[in-house]
Symmetry: C2
Subunit: 444 residues, 2 copies
């Protein structure tokens, strides 16, 4: 990832190997827009081209058979996803008991991983997969540590971790399509303290001279804000909390895990496609970004979420529909309001109550203990995001037969009713402004 056009020279010296050479750096061409960077509460490519993450989850796809890996890449070629959460280390968990052919390191004579002895075969293959994702326009959100382990990768010493991270940084940071996800469910890795993660995050920030995105992903406890953190990578079923984290972190928020479409026994993996799509829209209409996952119980134990393969669910085409709308309208942010939206007389959903009733409700809500008030407001605030040209209001699972859209008085607006399940966009009004009541079909 040289940043200046012209001739570049390199010298590599490592463990007795020495080599040098040179290459010509040319301007970006074709679909190469450089790495992804943050831009306010959103993202873009380094050259300014649009990038809006719509991710998926294939934790251990690179640790599967060649045939399965090929199938996964084929799926990516036609799937809507432009980011994938994937692990460097193999995974141990239900549906993930198979051993990979290659591991990142060789073992020492005592059968212990020797982090100073990378298995080049593994890394060469790993690079080839990242490269293929790059050609498909998919960002590799690389999970450097994770807790699902029976092989010892989650219990390295600090020094071993450091040697491993050095290798990742030196070897992988030249790829424009990688992001560093310091850990998956960091709070389940009992060997790591919050201070350890801070040390590793700082190391990534200072040693990756290309400045790839860095995040850390939680199980139940959000990792506090640090200056190495470029965005929030959250796990939570309540996608309305995006707004809260935008405010607290002042960073872009990706809902990287909010349950998966599927039918396995664990509650995180048996959402209907309808509910997964609903949660995705809640996240987007709260000013966040989303990551898909799929966990259908199968005899062959090939679940997309872990091993890749094929997609079987009904949600991917709905993520494609969502993505296409997002690329069309651009970055959307919640309006900044000091007062709760739904207690603003202008935002009164009934449109019939008097101002004194609204003021009265507001008085009662504002008198609640702070925690309770925040919980209440989090649940009832209308989901509205916008930019200067576009406003999106998501009605979630409600079924109104009409709703009031509140547009500026100056300007002419087109109103579309979006059916997020049927994937239709129907013009309801073509040239309008101000407060306008529109009919909806009133049924999900």
């Amino acid at each position: 990832m040289p940043s200046i056009e012209g001739e570049w020279n390199y010298n590599i010296a490592w463990d007795g190997i020495e080599t040098k050479g040179s290459f010509i750096c040319v301007s970006n061409t074709g679909n190469n827009h450089g790495k992804v960077v943050t831009d306010g509460f959103g993202f873009r490519y380094a050259d300014g081209a649009d990038y809006i993450p719509v991710g998926t989850t294939c934790y251990a796809w690179v640790h599967q058979t060649e045939a399965l890996i090929a199938q996964t890449l084929e799926t990516f070629a036609s799937a809507p996803f432009n980011k994938v959460r994937m692990c460097v280390f193999p995974k141990h968990m239900p549906y993930n008991s198979n051993d990979p052919e290659l591991y990142p390191f060789h073992k020492d004579e005592n059968g212990k991983w020797d982090v100073a002895k990378p298995d080049f075969k593994f890394w060469t293959q790993f690079e080839s997969y990242i490269s293929k994702l790059k050609d498909l326009g998919v960002e590799a959100d690389l999970i450097l540590f994770h807790p699902y382990d029976r092989r010892g990768f989650s219990s390295f010493t600090m020094e071993e971790c450091s040697v491993y991270l050095d290798y990742c940084i030196n070897r992988l940071s030249a790829f424009r399509n990688i992001w560093w996800s310091l850990a998956n469910e960091y709070d389940l890795i009992s060997a790591g303290t919050n201070e350890d993660w801070d040390i590793f995050g700082s190391k990534l920030k200072s040693e990756d001279i290309y400045g790839h995105l860095i995040s850390i992903h939680n199980f139940v406890h959000m990792y506090p804000k640090k200056d190495w953190m470029t965005h929030v990578s959250a796990q939570n079923n309540d996608c309305r909390r995006v707004k809260q984290w935008r405010n607290a972190y002042q960073l872009p928020v990706i809902m990287d895990e909010f349950g998966y479409e599927g039918d396995i026994e664990s509650n995180w993996g048996n959402l209907s496609a309808f509910e997964l799509v609903n949660r995705a829209w809640v996240a987007v209409a709260s000013g966040g970004f989303v990551t898909h996952g799929e966990t259908f119980d199968r005899k062959d134990e090939i679940l997309w979420w872990a091993k890749g393969g094929k997609l079987h669910g009904e949600s991917p085409e709905r993520f494609a529909f969502l993505k296409s709308l997002l690329y069309e309208v651009g970055q959307l942010d919640p309006p900044v309001r000091k007062m709760p939206v739904n207690t603003d007389p202008n935002a009164n959903p009934s449109g019939e109550q008097g101002e004194s009733d609204i003021a009265n409700s507001l008085r009662v809500i504002m008198a609640l203990p702070e925690d309770e008030r925040n919980q209440f407001m989090l649940r009832v605030t209308p989901l509205i995001v916008r930019n200067p040209n576009y406003m999106l209001q998501y009605l979630e699972r409600t079924c109104p037969s009409r709703t009031t859209v509140r547009l500026p008085e100056n300007g002419l607006y087109r109103i579309e009713a979006i059916d997020v399940w049927e994937m239709t966009r129907t013009a309801v009004e073509k040239e309008c402004c101000g407060n306008i009541s529109i009919r909806l079909h009133g049924r999900k």
Copy 2:
């Protein structure tokens, strides 16, 4: 409501009117089981017969035309509901602008309500409606005060309130099928302080010698526990909170308002039938009771929730299905657990993780700040209620293709898969015990 068989004499002296007489009190007959009382975290009739509340909401049905009132009573005759939330005072709100023919009081020469001058015509009619509900087996959950008012009923002085309450107690408490609901959305009645409500609650408890049930219903702030309160009458969209309130109040909890089936613009009145039914099962599977409501936008403005009439939705038959199951199995309570259910190794939903993984998750969850931990646990704890002979687990909107049922090792149990929407109960296992994995259809 005399409580001893034999001859009773009465003397009535009021405002210059004096009358006396006698009657014979006989034993209860037919469907007369006496008033409803609480029994632990549930209810029963005074004579011990089963009573499990499955309510509905018709706030102002007695303030409508005779024809509409007749239709409402006809609907009650075939509907599953055995309790109705209804107001003494007429209602002012969207869809509720019509004036009733009669009011509870006459006005004085200044056009102000004179609470010392009840309109007997109103009360005679009102009694006749309570009586008709009684014949239909429906408890009248009488809302004594409410905030939806343009006529001055919500801004009485303390003395006026007291005179009015005396009249209600003296006149209505002889009906076995009345409950006192001190107020609807008490926290929206700006004229009343928490102390005022306490005074009125105490008055009802001390002056109603028959001891009818007493509750108070909130908008957003739960009224604190008082010794006059016989049960919790809650408004909240999150029916999982039943458990929290059972613990805090040590009283039966009725979710009297958790949204209505309908399509009006306000969010509290545009749930799909599916979601209303879902919330009802969440409440029941948390150890609570439920109240239905229906708000479909109609040109004639006759919405069941306010005016009665006919039911138009798809949820009532599902409430009937739920009610029939509840009467079959009897009172259900959540198991008392000190540890969160889902971190108990025996309740591990994946059935495949090792105990150390479970212990690790538990460690992380228990280390959360208390508020965050409670929020988390509230959201993820499996919904299980039971009695010595029956266990109900509600899977909400999850779609597992199999689930593990954990039964005692001794005994023989029958397992049924209940489809709360299709209203089917399918035997899955006929004689089983211990932990048993069953197949489900895996799709909502």
